[in-house]
Each structure stands twice: as structure tokens, then as C-alpha cells.
């Protein structure tokens, strides 16, 4: 199979990789770039575990073909922390025990980041809708919602 050469900016770094055209962006990130933060849950866009930001918009990387990433700017969960300092969302998820097994967490963090970037002071209802594309089978969601509220509060305080 011929492989296509893709140039992107991932987590602030210009990144090039080779991929087969039918490969999902999720698999290219995991297998070619070595970023295994985004997870495959369902592979059909229902669970959100593969959520990343592409040009600042949250998307399921399992539903994108890898060549579509050419020329885009991508943020994955690996790019959330700022040189070793956890992002407030990460910190609040940790402190609030907003995860158990952790498979869904990278996706929740990215969807929550997308929400807070455009709405720094969301209501609980807005948070629940913004995270409706992310499934968690451990926490029952409440701790996740509270962690996002906590992080929003902290980020507004800064």
C-alpha cells in the first residue's frame, strides 16, 4: 500500500507522519505518531474516548481519515499540561476522583476543554450537553460534571 505524507501541528510541534489513506486519524496518532492518549472505545463516534481538538473543534478522531489531518492544528490530551503543570481540568479530575478506569478520561478532558474555551462559565445543563458525546461506565458522571465546574471556577479566577 502506498503511504501518504501528512504534515500537521500536534500539541504545538510541527509533526510529519506517513499513513495509509483509509487509516483513521486515531490509529495514525496512536501507531504512527506514538500518541496513545486518545482511546478507541466504540470506533463509531458514540463514546467520545477518541476526542481530540482539530483546529480548536472537538471531534472524534476515529471518524476522521488520517489524510484529512494534513495542514491542521491538533491538540490531544498529551498537549493539555503546560510543561509539566497539569491543566486545571486535569488537576480537578484528579482531586475530585472524576475517573476510575480512566479509558474515557482523555476524551472527557478534551470535550471539556472545548467547552470552557468557548464558554468559561457554563451551567450544569450546558456541561451535561457538551459532554453528551462522551460515555463513562464507572463514575456515574456526577464527579466529572463537578470537576468541570471546579476547573471552570479556577480558570475564571486566574
Amino acid at each position: 500500500m502506498p503511504r501518504t505524507h501528512i504534515t500537521t501541528v500536534i500539541n504545538g510541534d510541527e509533526t510529519e507522519f506517513l499513513t495509509e489513506d483509509g487509516t483513521s486519524l486515531l490509529n495514525a496518532l496512536r501507531d504512527e505518531v506514538g500518541l496513545t492518549g486518545a482511546k478507541e472505545g466504540c470506533g463509531t463516534g458514540d463514546c467520545g474516548a477518541c476526542s481530540i481538538l482539530v483546529d480548536d473543534r472537538v471531534t472524534c478522531s476515529c471518524l476522521m481519515f488520517a489524510p484529512e489531518a494534513d495542514g491542521t492544528t491538533i491538540l490531544t490530551v498529551e498537549g493539555l499540561a503546560d510543561s509539566g503543570d497539569l491543566h486545571p481540568l486535569q488537576q480537578c479530575f484528579l482531586e475530585g476522583a472524576a475517573l476510575q478506569c480512566g479509558i474515557c478520561t482523555p476524551g472527557f478532558l478534551m470535550a471539556a476543554k472545548a467547552l470552557l474555551d468557548k464558554n468559561p462559565d457554563p451551567t450544569e445543563t450546558e456541561i451535561r450537553y457538551a459532554l453528551a458525546g462522551n460515555l463513562c461506565r464507572c463514575t456515574g458522571y456526577d464527579k466529572i460534571i463537578r470537576a468541570v465546574q471546579e476547573a471552570a471556577l479556577e480558570m475564571r479566577g486566574k
Binding site: 501518504t4 489513506d21 483509509g22 483513521s24 470506533g43 463509531t44 463516534g45 458514540d46 467520545g48 476526542s51 482539530v54 473543534r57 472537538v58 471531534t59 472524534c60 476515529c62 471518524l63 476522521m64 481519515f65 489524510p67 484529512e68 470535550a111 472545548a114 467547552l115 450537553y129 457538551a130 453528551a132 458525546g133 462522551n134
Partner: protein, 289 residues
């Protein structure tokens, strides 16, 4: 599968004409799950999103033009568009999660040809036109002429939709879309109902359009309900006639989301409610806005 992203409509149509096994896509939110479910892969995947007209949202004095591959999030985020067509904007905003709406398009929602596609009733009642490109140029179809059955469209293999044209909402007019699903988010419609009305100066209904999703092999118009509404002020007896006509027109499937009897009943209820919301909106749009 080979991936191509043409930068013009002409380039795309010639790629499609040259390759018998090519498929266009926009957000791929239907295409990828279908491939994963085992649908035969095309040789060529034609990404429409690098063609400028396909990803754009603009308006002039008479109409709005929505590129067929424009992410539906652009529609719900655009205040002017959502003010002009609140029902169509609501329908677009019901498609999946934020992750999906940052990718899903009206062209994909229509051409995937699911009977349950949420934007389609709202497009139908608004008289939306599809501008279709093919090897010999473009033609314009009413949206209601595009889907012919589940998974089937009237487009040729080397044709695709470039953009949708929507005439501005007339004065004293309004649209609405309601959907019933067993949960609050992220499910397929049990029934969807789109309505649009135009009121006469005396407040009675001058024009009415009603379309239902998920109750027949394609989205259907309900002419008997539309006729019942015209000339009335949507009093209770008229609304009962609307509900009865909507239930009667349904030819739904039985599945885990709802039985035939349940779908028919819900179709009537949603039809009535959608008409009432459209009327309320029409009353608020008195010609100056």
C-alpha cells in the same frame, strides 16, 4: 481506499466520472460507521471539504446559501441564520454530540438517505433547494426530490450536492422542528416533525407545511394536515385534524425504539406541537425583523 481532496467542483466531478468506485464525503460521520459495519469500501474517497463553496454559509437580500459540506455546528453557532430559520437550526443542533456536529453536514444528512435524518423535515418545510453538480454542469432540485428510499437518492454516481439555497423567511412566518427520542441526547429519532407556517394579516394561517421523519421509508409531507390548517387559526378542532392526518399518513417500522402504534400516536402529538411553535414564531416576526 485512496483519499483525494479536490479543490474545485469541476475537479471533483471529473474524479467521480473517471472512477466507477468513488464516494464523496463531508464529515464521514455516516461513512465511517458504515465502513466499519462491513459496507464495501470504495476505491476512491473524495473529500469535499477543500472546495470553497462546499464549506460556507452566506446570505444576500433574498436567500441563504449553505455549502453542502459545512459542519452543522456552523449553522447553530450563526445567530443570524438561527434567527432566520430557528427550526432548521434546532434540527441541525440535534444531530449527535458536539464531536459529531463539528463534522456532520446537511449534504451528508440528506444523501445518507436515512428516514430518520433530523435536518431533512426542517429543510423540506422551508422549501430548500439543492444545487447539484455533475459532469455536464449543475441542476437544481427541491430537497424533497433527492431521497427516493432508505439509502437511495436520485443523484447519479458522478453527481454531488454543492450547496443548499434557502429563500429568506417571509414576514409573519416561522418554522419549528421537534424530535422524540427515548433519551435526551444521542439517539435516532422515533419521530421527527418539521413545520412552517405563514400568517395572513388577520392572523389566520395562509400557508402551512408539515413533514415527518422516521415514520416512513423517506421523510414525508402531510398534505391533509397542511390543507386542514390553511384558513384557520389552529383552533383545537383543527389541531386534532392535523394530528389525525399525521398519524394516518405514517407507515412506520416496529423496533426497539417504538411500536407502530406508538410511532403513529407520537407523530400526531409532535405534528401539533411543531405547528404551534411555528405559529408562535410567525406571530413574533411581523415583517420588520
Amino acid at each position: 481506499m485512496k483519499y483525494v481532496a479536490p479543490s474545485s467542483v469541476e475537479e471533483a466531478t471529473s474524479l467521480l466520472s473517471a472512477s466507477p468506485s468513488a464516494q464523496v464525503f463531508a464529515g464521514a460521520t455516516d461513512v465511517v460507521p458504515q465502513l466499519r459495519a462491513g459496507r464495501p469500501a470504495p476505491e476512491l474517497l473524495v473529500d469535499l471539504k477543500k472546495i470553497e463553496e462546499l464549506v460556507s454559509l452566506k446570505s444576500d437580500d433574498n436567500k441563504w446559501t449553505v455549502g453542502a459540506a459545512t459542519p452543522t455546528a456552523y449553522l447553530t453557532e450563526d445567530e443570524a441564520f438561527s434567527h432566520e430559520f430557528p427550526g432548521l437550526s434546532e434540527a441541525a443542533g440535534l444531530i449527535g454530540s458536539d464531536q459529531i456536529q463539528n463534522r456532520s453536514s446537511l449534504g451528508g444528512n440528506l444523501c445518507n438517505a436515512s428516514p430518520a435524518a433530523d435536518s431533512v423535515p426542517a429543510m423540506v418545510v422551508n422549501g430548500v433547494r439543492a444545487v447539484v453538480a455533475g459532469p455536464s454542469g449543475t441542476r437544481v432540485l427541491d430537497v424533497s426530490e433527492v431521497v427516493t428510499g432508505p439509502g437511495q437518492t436520485s443523484l447519479d454516481d458522478d453527481e454531488f450536492i454543492v450547496e443548499f439555497e434557502i429563500d429568506n423567511m417571509p414576514a409573519r412566518s416561522g418554522d419549528a422542528y421537534l424530535r422524540m427520542i427515548p433519551r435526551t441526547e444521542m439517539d435516532i429519532a422515533v419521530v421527527g416533525a418539521g413545520a412552517r407556517v405563514t400568517l395572513a394579516d388577520d392572523g389566520s394561517i395562509e400557508q402551512a407545511a408539515l413533514a415527518l421523519a422516521a415514520v416512513a421509508p423517506t421523510v414525508i409531507r402531510i398534505p391533509d394536515a397542511e390543507d386542514a390548517l390553511v384558513g384557520t387559526t389552529a383552533d383545537d378542532a383543527t389541531l386534532d385534524a392535523v394530528a389525525a392526518a399525521a398519524s394516518e399518513a405514517c407507515d412506520p417500522i416496529d423496533d426497539k425504539r417504538g411500536t407502530v402504534a406508538y410511532r403513529k400516536q407520537v407523530a400526531g402529538v409532535l405534528a401539533k406541537r411543531a405547528v404551534l411553535i411555528a405559529i408562535e414564531r410567525a406571530e413574533q416576526r411581523n415583517g420588520t425583523n
